[in-house]
C-alpha cells in the first residue's frame, strides 16, 4: 500500500465479533453494527461469529484491498488475547499494523455486564472510542532489541533443579537462586515417592550434584532475589547472598567444625527435620546438602551474638573456611529470561485446632512423618512416637487445609496419593493398623489408581468422611491412653470413634506467605490464594503476563513431582524459544520530545526510570534515547508543556478515546 493512500482521508472498517455466544448472548450485535455505521469516517461495518478465525481475518483483509480501508477497528476480546492476531492480519493485507485498534467488548462488557441493554450501550461507547482513536493512529515499526542469553532460575526445588539442568544442557549459562542453604526443596525431605515408591534421594541427589558440578550453572544458595529491573530479554537482577559465615569455596563439608562446636549437643530447632531434631549453631542442613557446605546461624551462634566464644569451630577448620566477619553480599545478574519455581508451603495445622496439632504430641503433620520414615531422618527411618514407642494404630486424616471453606477451598492434588504412600510405608515398617479418613479419593495420575488398589488389598482401612476432631477424651477401656478420631463414616452412615496411637494430618499445599511480595518483585500476577498466575490456563500455562518471566511447579498451583518436572521442562522450552531467537520486538510505544516545543525545563530528566533522557545543552532541549525508552509514559505525564508525547498513546489519542465514550454516553 502506498504512503499516499495510507495518509489519505481515514477510511475505517469496523468488525464486530460475536465470539460464539460469548459476546452475542449479552450484546445486541446488530445494534452495535447499526450504530457503528453512523460514526465518522466509517466505510464498512460487519459482524462475524469468530473474527479471530481465518475467515474472520480474511473479511477485514478483503475490505482493506477492495474498499481501500486504511483504518481497522475490531470489537471483540481483550487486546491481550488477539491484538497480535488482528495486527498481523492488518499487516498481511498491506496496511501498517498500527492502523488497527481493538475495542474490548468481551472482558470489559459481555462477561461483566448483566443487563443486555446496558451491555449493548457500553459496546457502542467503546466502538465509538476506538473509531475516534484509530483515526489518529500513526504507522509505526517494531523495535528489535537483542536478548541476553543467560537465564535465571529462582527456586532450587525439583522444578528449579530440572529447569536449570535442562537449560545448562542446552548450553545456556544459568544462575540458580535458592533461599535455603541447600537446594533440593521439599522433595529432599521425602523418603519414597508415589506411586512407584522409588527413593526420593536416589533420584534427586544425583540431579542436585549435577547442578553443583555443571559448568554452565552458577548456584547461589542462601540467597534471595531482591530487585528486578528491565524487560523481556534484558533483565537486571539483584540477588542478596546472605552471610553463611563460612567461605563456600573453602569448605569441603567435613563437619569437623560441627563436631568442635562448644555446644556438645544440638540445641536449636532443625527445620530440615521439621523440628523433630535439634542442631547446633554451625550445621549442615542434611547429609546430602548441596552445596556440601556448613553454615552458621547468627541467631544462635555465641560468637555472632556476643563475640565471646572460644570459636572452637574456627580452630577445628583446617581450611580456615569460617569467617565471622562475613556480611550479606549483593550480586547483580544480567539475564534474558527468568523462570520462577519457588514452590509452596504446607498448611499450618494449628489453624484447625480440633485436630489437636501442637496440643497432643502424637498428632503429626504429613511432612513430619515423611522425615520419620526417611532413613536419613531423625529416627533413622523408624516410625516412632514421641516417647520412642512404635504406634500400633495410626489414623491419617486427609484434606487438612484443603477442600475446606474455612481454610483453603482448593484440592491440594497430592495429599491423597502421599497419604496412601505414608499408609503403605507405616504399615510396612510397623505392621500397625492404618486408617485413612478421606472425603473423596482422588488418584487421577499414571499408575495412581493402581496404587490405591494395591493399598486396598494391603489391609489398610479406608473410612469415607471428614474427620470431626481428634480428642484424648476416652469412653471405653480400649480407647484408654489413645487419641480418638471422631468421624462420620458416610458409607455406612454412622459416627465412628477410632482410637489410635498416632494421628497424621495430611496438610495441604499453600502459596508461600510472601507470594505477594515475590510477585511484586517480578511484576507478575497471582490469584487471590497467592498462586502465580499463568498467562492463559490452557494455552500459556508457564508464561506470565510479564514477557520473559515464566513459572514452573507448585508456585503456580499444587502439583505432584511428575507434573512439576513436566512444567519445568515446558518453562525451559519457552525460555529457550526466547533467548535462542536472539532478539525481541518491542512495542513501538516509546516517548518522544518535539524539540520546538521543549523549553528545556528539565522536569522529565529525573523522572525517567531508565535514564533514557538527557539534556542537550547546545540545543537547550531534552532528548529521549529511543533504545533506552521502555514506554512507561512517566515523562509524558510530567512534561509541563506537552512537548513529550508517546507513540500509540498521544494526548490526542487518549482524549479522543475518552471523548468517544463520553460523547456517546
Amino acid at each position: 500500500m502506498s504512503e499516499t493512500m495510507q495518509s489519505a482521508e481515514p477510511r475505517v472498517g469496523v468488525y464486530v465479533c460475536h465470539c460464539g455466544i460469548n459476546i452475542a448472548a449479552k450484546v445486541d450485535i446488530a445494534a452495535v453494527v447499526e450504530f457503528a455505521k453512523t460514526l465518522p469516517y466509517v466505510i464498512v461495518v460487519r459482524d462475524y461469529k469468530f473474527m479471530c478465525s481465518d475467515p474472520g481475518q480474511e473479511l477485514l483483509q478483503q475490505d482493506i484491498k477492495e474498499l481501500g480501508l486504511n483504518r481497522i477497528v475490531v470489537a471483540s476480546c481483550s487486546p491481550l488475547m488477539h491484538e497480535a492476531t488482528f495486527r498481523h492480519a492488518t499487516e498481511a493485507a498491506g496496511l501498517n499494523q498500527f492502523y488497527f485498534q481493538m475495542a474490548n467488548i468481551r472482558e470489559h462488557v459481555s462477561w461483566v455486564t448483566a443487563d443486555k441493554a446496558l451491555a449493548t450501550r457500553k459496546s457502542q461507547a467503546l466502538v465509538s472510542a476506538a473509531v475516534r482513536r484509530v483515526v489518529l493512529n500513526e504507522p509505526l515499526e517494531h523495535q528489535k532489541v537483542p536478548v541476553k542469553p543467560n537465564v535465571l532460575v529462582v527456586g532450587g526445588g525439583i522444578a528449579g533443579i530440572h529447569a536449570a539442568l535442562t537449560l545448562a544442557n542446552a548450553g545456556k549459562q544459568v544462575t540458580l537462586v535458592e533461599r535455603e542453604p541447600t537446594i533440593g526443596g521439599h522433595m529432599a525431605k521425602f523418603d519414597k515417592t508415589f506411586p512407584t515408591l522409588d527413593c526420593a534421594a536416589c533420584i534427586l541427589t544425583p540431579k542436585m550434584s549435577m547442578v553443583r558440578s555443571h559448568p554452565n550453572i552458577t548456584m547461589l544458595t542462601y540467597a534471595e532475589v531482591v530487585g528486578v529491573e528491565g524487560y523481556v530479554g534484558n533483565f537486571t537482577v539483584k540477588v542478596k547472598k546472605k552471610a553463611r559465615y563460612v567461605h563456600e569455596e573453602l569448605c569441603v563439608g567435613c563437619n569437623e567444625c560441627v563436631e568442635a562446636c562448644v555446644y556438645k549437643e544440638g540445641r536449636f530447632t532443625d527445620t530440615f527435620n521439621e523440628g523433630l531434631s535439634k542442631r547446633k549453631p554451625v550445621y549442615m542442613p542434611f547429609p546430602q546438602a548441596t552445596p556440601s557446605v556448613v553454615l552458621i546461624d547468627p541467631e544462635s551462634c555465641i560468637e555472632l551474638k556476643t563475640g565471646k566464644c572460644k570459636k572452637q569451630c574456627a580452630t577445628a577448620c583446617t581450611r580456615n573456611a569460617i569467617d565471622f566477619t562475613m556480611t550479606d553480599e549483593i550480586v547483580a545478574l544480567e539475564v534474558g529470561a527468568i523462570i520462577i519455581a519457588t514452590g509452596f508451603q504446607t498448611f499450618d495445622a494449628t489453624r484447625i485446632p480440633q485436630y489437636g496439632y501442637g496440643k497432643f504430641p502424637n498428632v503429626y503433620t504429613s511432612l513430619e512423618v515423611e522425615r520419620l520414615v526417611n532413613a536419613s531422618g531423625p529416627t533413622g527411618g523408624e516410625v516412632q512416637l514421641r516417647d520412642g514407642s512404635t504406634p500400633k494404630r495410626v489414623g491419617i486424616i486427609h484434606c487438612v487445609g484443603s477442600r475446606d471453606e474455612k481454610t483453603n477451598r482448593h484440592c491440594s492434588r497430592v495429599c491423597c496419593m502421599y497419604s496412601l504412600k505414608l499408609a503403605h510405608l507405616i504399615h510396612e515398617r510397623t505392621d500397625a493398623e492404618v486408617y485413612n479418613l478421606y472425603i473423596d479419593m482422588r488418584t487421577p495420575g499414571k499408575g495412581y489408581e493402581e496404587f490405591y488398589d494395591k493399598l486396598l488389598k494391603e489391609g489398610v482401612n479406608f473410612i469415607r468422611g471428614r474427620a470431626a476432631e481428634v480428642t484424648d477424651w476416652t469412653v471405653t477401656p480400649e480407647e484408654e491412653g489413645k487419641l480418638v478420631i471422631r468421624a462420620e463414616d458416610t458409607l455406612i452412615g454412622v459416627v465412628r470413634r477410632i482410637p489410635v496411637d498416632m494421628v497424621v494430618l495430611s496438610v495441604g499445599l499453600e502459596a508461600h506467605a510472601d507470594a505477594d511480595e515475590v510477585r511484586r518483585l517480578f511484576n507478575i500476577s497471582c490469584s487471590k490464594e497467592g498462586w502465580f498466575l499463568e498467562r492463559h490456563p490452557k494455552l500459556a500455562p508457564v508464561s506470565t503476563f510479564t514477557d520473559g518471566i515464566f513459572i514452573a511447579g507448585a508456585c503456580q498451583g499444587p502439583k505432584d513431582i511428575p507434573d512439576t518436572v513436566a512444567q519445568a521442562g515446558a518453562a525451559v522450552a519457552e525460555a529457550l524459544a526466547l533467548v535462542d531467537r536472539g532478539f525481541v520486538e518491542l512495542e513501538p510505544n516509546t516517548a518522544f520530545i518535539t524539540k520546538e516545543l521543549c523549553s528545556g525545563c528539565h522536569t522529565c530528566i529525573a523522572m525517567c526510570p531508565f535514564s533514557a533522557i538527557r539534556y542537550n545543552k547546545e540545543a537547550g532541549v531534552a532528548e529521549i534515547n529511543p533504545a533506552l525508552c521502555k514506554g512507561c509514559g512517566t515523562c509524558v505525564a510530567a512534561c509541563p508543556s506537552g512537548a513529550a508525547q508517546q507513540h500509540l498513546f498521544t494526548d490526542e489519542q487518549i482524549f479522543q478515546e475518552i471523548e468517544g465514550v463520553l460523547n456517546y454516553v
Partner: protein, 321 residues
C-alpha cells in the same frame, strides 16, 4: 486609502489590559497613525449607539479584554462580534477567564449573599438584592444581570485570536498589531505568542540542575531568593515550565516566580492539570508524610494552578448550555 477601524472593549477585568496598550509608549503613536480607533470606552467617549450604527464587519479588528459575567458584557461582545471582522481576546481574563474566573469556585447565589448580606460591614435588614428591573415613579430602571458563571470570551462568542498575558506584554501587542497591519496573522484560532515554555527565554535556564527535584516547596516570603539560580530548583513554585513564553520571563528576571499568566501551550488542554502534574513530578518525596510536608509550600493548589484559567478548565463543571 482609508485606515482600518479598530475597537477596544473591556468586560470583567481589572483595567490592566488597558494600561498595557498604553505601555506601548511612543509606539502607540505609530498605531494611532496606522489605524482609526473608533471605540474605546476606557479612553475615549463613544457610546453603544455608535457601535450599533456601524455596518456589520465595519470594524477591522476589535480587542476585547476581560471575562464575561454579566448580561451587559454578553450583549456588548455579541454586538462587537457582529461589527468586527477579527476579534482578539486580549489578556488572560478574555483568553481563559483569568482572576475573575476564580469566582467559578463558588456560585452566583453565594457571591450575592456574601456581598449583600453576610459581610460584617453590610447592613441589609430588608434583604435588598439588585434586580434586573425596578419600577420607580420616573419609570423603569434596569441593571445588567449577573450570569451563573464566569465565561472566557471564547466561551461566549467565536474568537479569532488570543493575545495572552496578565496583561499582555507590550512586545506581543506590538507584534500582533504589526501582523494585523502587514496582513500576516497566522491561522485563525492561534495564540499570538511563541508556543514554547517560559524557561526557554528565562535568564536562569542555564542554572538548572540536571535532575530537577525538590523536597520542599516554599513561598517567596519564606526564603531569601538566589537572584541567579532557577527558581523552581530553589523550591519556589515557578510555573515557567508550564506557561507560554513571550513575556521575556519578566517575573523570574524580577526575582518572582512565574504564576502562569500567559497560559497553556497549544498542545496542552488544561493548564491547571498539566501544571499540577508537572509540579508533582518535581517533588522528590516517597512517603505520604514527606509529600504533605513538601507540598506545604503550595497552600492553595486550586488558586495556584488555576489562577488564570478556571473557566477554561476541562475538569471544572460543565458550563450551562
Amino acid at each position: 486609502m482609508t485606515k482600518p477601524k479598530v475597537g477596544f472593549y473591556w468586560c470583567a477585568s481589572c483595567g490592566g489590559c488597558e494600561e498595557a496598550v498604553v505601555d506601548l509608549h511612543e509606539a502607540i503613536l505609530d498605531v494611532v497613525a496606522a489605524v482609526d480607533i473608533v471605540f474605546w470606552p476606557c479612553a475615549m467617549d463613544f457610546k453603544r449607539t455608535d457601535v450599533e450604527a456601524m455596518a456589520d464587519g465595519e470594524l477591522a479588528v476589535c480587542f476585547i479584554n476581560g471575562a464575561v459575567r454579566t448580561s451587559e458584557q454578553f450583549e456588548m461582545v455579541e454586538l462587537l462580534r457582529r461589527k468586527a471582522g477579527v476579534v482578539i481576546a486580549f489578556g488572560a481574563c478574555a483568553q481563559s477567564g483569568g482572576i475573575p474566573g476564580l469566582a467559578n469556585f463558588t456560585s452566583k447565589a453565594a457571591i450575592l449573599a456574601n456581598v449583600y448580606e453576610d459581610t460584617r460591614t453590610t447592613v441589609n435588614p430588608h434583604k435588598t438584592y439588585p434586580q434586573a428591573t425596578v419600577q420607580v415613579p420616573e419609570g423603569t430602571l434596569t441593571l445588567p444581570v449577573l450570569d451563573e458563571t464566569v465565561r472566557a470570551l471564547g466561551q461566549a462568542i467565536p474568537v479569532d485570536y488570543y493575545l495572552p498575558g496578565c496583561p499582555p506584554p507590550a512586545k506581543l501587542i506590538a507584534d500582533a498589531v504589526g501582523a494585523i497591519l502587514a496582513g500576516t496573522l497566522p491561522a485563525p484560532g492561534s495564540v499570538l505568542a511563541p508556543n514554547v515554555g517560559v524557561c526557554h527565554e528565562c535568564t536562569r535556564k542555564e542554572t538548572k540542575p540536571e535532575k530537577m527535584l525538590v523536597t520542599q516547596f516554599k513561598r517567596p516570603h519564606q526564603v531569601l531568593i538566589d537572584p541567579a539560580q532557577c527558581l523552581l530548583a530553589q523550591g519556589l513554585v515557578c510555573l515557567g515550565p508550564d506557561t507560554r513564553s513571550g513575556c521575556g520571563a519578566a517575573c523570574p528576571a524580577g526575582n518572582m516566580p512565574c504564576t502562569g499568566c500567559l497560559g497553556a501551550l497549544d498542545q496542552v488542554r488544561d493548564f491547571g492539570a498539566k501544571a499540577l502534574s508537572g509540579l508533582a513530578s518535581v517533588l522528590d518525596a516517597g512517603e505520604d508524610a514527606a509529600i504533605d510536608a513538601g507540598l506545604a509550600g503550595v497552600p492553595d493548589p486550586a488558586g495556584t494552578f488555576y489562577r488564570y484559567s478556571l473557566p477554561a478548565s476541562e475538569l471544572f463543571a460543565k458550563l450551562p448550555e
